[in-house]
Amino acid sequence: MPIPSPFHPRTSALCTGLRWKDWSGYHAVCSYGTCHEPEYFAFRHAAGLMDVTPLHKYDVSGPDAAAFLARVMVKNILKLRIGQVTYCCWCDEFGKLLDDGTVWRLDEHAYRVTAAEPNLAWLRRNADGFDVTIADTTERIAAVSLQGPNARAILKQVTDADMDALRFFWLTRTTIGGRDAIITRTGYTGDLGYEVWVDNDDALPLWDTLMSAGRPFGIAPTGLDALDVCRVEAGFIMNAVDYYSANHCVIEARKSTPYEAGLGWTVNLDRDPFVGQSALRAEKERGATRRFVGLEIDWDEFEALHARYGLPPELCSEAWRDPRPVYTAGGTQVGQATSGAWSPILKRNLALATVDRPHAAIGQTLRIETTVEFVRHRITATVVEKPFFDPPRKRAVAGDAS
């Protein structure tokens, strides 16, 4: 039975559509109204405010905190500077993905890890010999994500922190309405955006402050359905959708390596030993047999296929995550698309897929299963560059250049 997040009194009052789901044991809003589309457009054209409390949070501190995190993460956390945040993943000793998330350096010896799944046991299991304390702060810290082109302008109304100077994937400690808060310039929309982290007790004042300061800037409360479209546009992989944590897999084939999942760029191999290092080194030398790629589904074929039935092209406005087989032109299955969405901002029909390496090059023409009128068809999908959506404002430092 899910529990309410500290924002629940506000989110439940606003969620007139009563569309909720269970996100990591919390009640989480899918969409506030009956349809998520206005929330999607708020993310992309104004600002969306989303309760992201259900993210798992671990505070890691102590003299060996950096060394410990460098040991468990595929990335060399020793290089992380105070105030910096990094995105990375972690693996089992066989180099198979367990989860992905962020690591922040709050202080000399204080770090925070965010994760999609519970990771406390695994972190503690690997902490032997390190002088660290690992605290699960998931249920003590409330968090909202404020994403969209107006996100910075809104935060400037409520904090003295220099928002113009806060760089992409850095954090600042500040106060909002007289209460302590941490602002990280992070998010899951691929846009300009921030996440604000406070003690549970400060959750409601934070929500009220942001909503009221955001009103002139078009702020809207946003749910998971809108986020899902944004994250496909951003080309972000999702645990338990596009890959599965090795801890939960019954068979080896279900597991993935960071190289297969498009996260090879987060792996720093040449350094002191870390969990999964030798397996990952071997994998890198061998070359991953699969790749995580972006696909664009051919519109003309999609439309023509519907026209054969006398139908106009019908798109679901929500992102999908029921896996769809991907084939070569010759009909051999070479992978699966695991999520996708029509992108209203890019006007492209997009999917994220894992395909065998020989068929994963940019420009490769594949076929994807598409069902029309209960009949399965295959239409062209081309391997294209990710991220699909990547506006300059995402990383821009000052001003609102988009």
């Binding site: 349809c35 457009f41 078009g218 106009p312 006007k347």
Partner: protein
């Protein structure tokens, strides 16, 4: 004197001219676009008329802009972003109101306040219109087949269309006939009983025409409301982020990326002819520029009677052209306001107002609309006009300073030919603006105190500033006799003109006005097919 040689010169940097230019440039042609004003887009233009307020000065929404053009020209990459409108709100003076939403059951309950029967029929109506629109789409994405032509390809196309129409079944065949012949009100009477529902629906049949909602031939324009395509869904209206000028800018950017050259503040004074063929243009400053073809995005009257000259044209053609009806009937009032308007019949909820996130129709009854038309018939603007209000800043905060808003009012009727004579419009302009604001203030009592800036565009202003002849927003009325193979004149509906090497690409050609882009695309296709360039 410039003599550099282009493959094509496009006269007019409106959205159709730019679309045509982009397609020609993509096909490798050397293209020059010449725009008279300092800003591109023609009537699809954004201007910062008041500091921080970016107005879609003329056209203010899009629905029919062809998705194919967006894909072909990669307009999303060139900065085009569209935001669907979320509601259709009709306030009433008696404190009641109707709001239609994408959420069907919510709409059903709203309509049921006025008629439970209408509420149930509403989706059936939508389905029937949707089917018709799906059929009609073929017509707007292709040149109009000409039944008077002896060209076997034309006849084949007609035959194919006829077969498709038949395949729709007898019910839709009848519907088609009804749509083409009936008035918007008569047609809606076949379906609905509630005037509160019918009035705002009927008015879409008369937009841009000098007809009333009870005039025959207005029913088919209702289809337009079901023909819009945004994100693959057949639905109605959307905003362009940053205003409609951003659509033009995106097309211009695509054209430039393919090598087109675009000049602003370069008014063309006439089309250069040699032995009856177009060989270029002469600018106001006397420069002559030559090209293999000249393509005019201006309306047919300005193109032929203005730039070509009657003396260079056949009598019969001039006669037919002079019968092409413009008679603009609408104006525009653009307001900058310092807070979100509030309607007495449906107050805002602590700064939230979902019913203002779409279009707002001041159309409280059919007699109201017909009375508004009566005044126009006798040469005056409507004292209580139909107003289509959109507050773009609610969905796109980027167009106004934080917390402030733009109120865009499309107003009908404001006849170009007022009884004093069109040239007297400047003396009536502010009275017209007052009538509009007074009307709106009857529904939004606090409105007048919030106005920071007001722009009033009469049909006369639309002609003078934007080159819309007689202020007609569609480059000529969209009435059945001026459509398809008869637009702008029969025999010349395929973008060609009686002047060799002179082509048309504006809204005065098939499939007509609205920010559709189809004339520009179809013209480019026709030009490329002939290898004229």
């Amino acid at each position: 004197m410039t003599t550099s040689r282009y493959d094509a010169i496009i006269v007019g940097g409106g959205h159709n001219g730019l679309v045509c230019a982009a397609y020609l440039a993509r096909a490798g042609r050397k293209v020059l676009v010449l725009e008279r004003r300092h800003v591109l887009g023609g009537a699809a233009v954004t201007e910062e008329l008041h500091p921080g307020f970016h107005f879609s000065v003329c056209s203010y929404v899009v629905s029919l802009f062809r998705p194919k053009i967006i894909r072909d020209l990669e307009l999303a990459r060139h900065g085009l972003e569209m935001i669907p409108l979320e509601s259709a709100f009709t306030p009433l003076p008696d404190g009641r109101s109707l709001c239609r939403w994408p959420d069907w059951h919510r709409t059903r309950r709203e309509i049921a306040q006025f008629s439970a029967r209408d509420a149930d029929l509403y989706p059936e109506f939508g389905l029937a219109m949707g089917k018709m629109a799906y059929f009609a789409r073929e017509l707007i994405d292709n040149p109009a087949p000409d039944p008077a032509s002896f060209d076997p390809r034309e006849l084949m196309r007609l035959l194919r269309l006829g077969k498709r129409l038949r395949s729709l079944g007898p019910d839709l065949m009848h519907l088609n006939t009804q749509l083409l012949t009936m008035s918007a009100v008569d047609f809606l009477d076949l379906w609905f009983e509630s005037e509160v529902l019918k009035a705002p629906m009927s008015v879409s049949g008369v937009i841009g025409t000098f007809l009333g909602v009870r005039s025959p031939g207005t029913a088919y324009v209702l289809l337009h409301h079901y023909m819009g395509e945004i994100d693959g869904a057949f639905r109605s209206w959307g905003l362009v982020k940053g205003g409609n000028g951003q659509l033009s800018n995106a097309v211009a950017s695509a054209a430039r990326a393919s090598g087109a050259e675009i000049r602003t503040e370069a008014p063309v004074s006439r089309i250069l002819l040699r032995n009856g063929e177009a060989e270029g243009v002469v600018l106001d400053n006397g420069d002559e520029i030559h090209a293999k073809v000249v393509v005019s995005g201006l309306d047919p009257r300005r193109t032929f009677l203005g730039l070509v000259g009657e003396a260079n044209l056949d009598d019969a053609f001039v006669t037919r052209l002079s019968r092409f009806k413009f008679r603009g009937s609408s104006g525009k009032v653009n307001l900058a306001v310092d807070r979100l308007p509030e309607f007495a019949c449906r107050p805002n909820d602590n700064g939230r107002a979902d019913h203002l996130r779409g279009d707002i129709a001041i159309a409280p009854g059919i007699d109201y609309l017909e009375t508004a038309y009566d005044e126009a018939k006798y040469g005056d603007f409507s004292r209580r006009p139909y107003i289509n209000v959109v507050i773009p800043s609610v969905l796109d905060p980027s167009v106004a300073p934080p917390g402030k808003h733009i109120v865009s009012c499309f107003v009908q009727y404001a006849p170009y030919h007022i009884k004093e004579g069109a040239d007297h419009w400047p003396n009536r302009r502010e009275a017209f603006g007052d009538a509009v604001v007074d009307t709106l203030a009857e529904y939004c009592p606090g409105l007048k105190d919030t106005i920071l800036y007001r722009q009033v565009l009469t049909p006369w202003d639309l002609e003078k500033e934007f080159g819309l002849t007689e202020g007609n927003i569609f480059h000529g009325e969209l009435s059945p006799e001026q459509l398809l193979f008869q637009r702008p004149v029969s025999g010349w509906a395929h973008y060609r003109t009686p002047i060799a090497r002179l082509w048309m690409c504006g809204s005065g050609t098939h499939p007509g006005g609205g920010v559709m882009g189809a004339p520009g695309m179809l013209a480019a296709r026709a030009i490329l097919k002939t290898n004229a360039t």
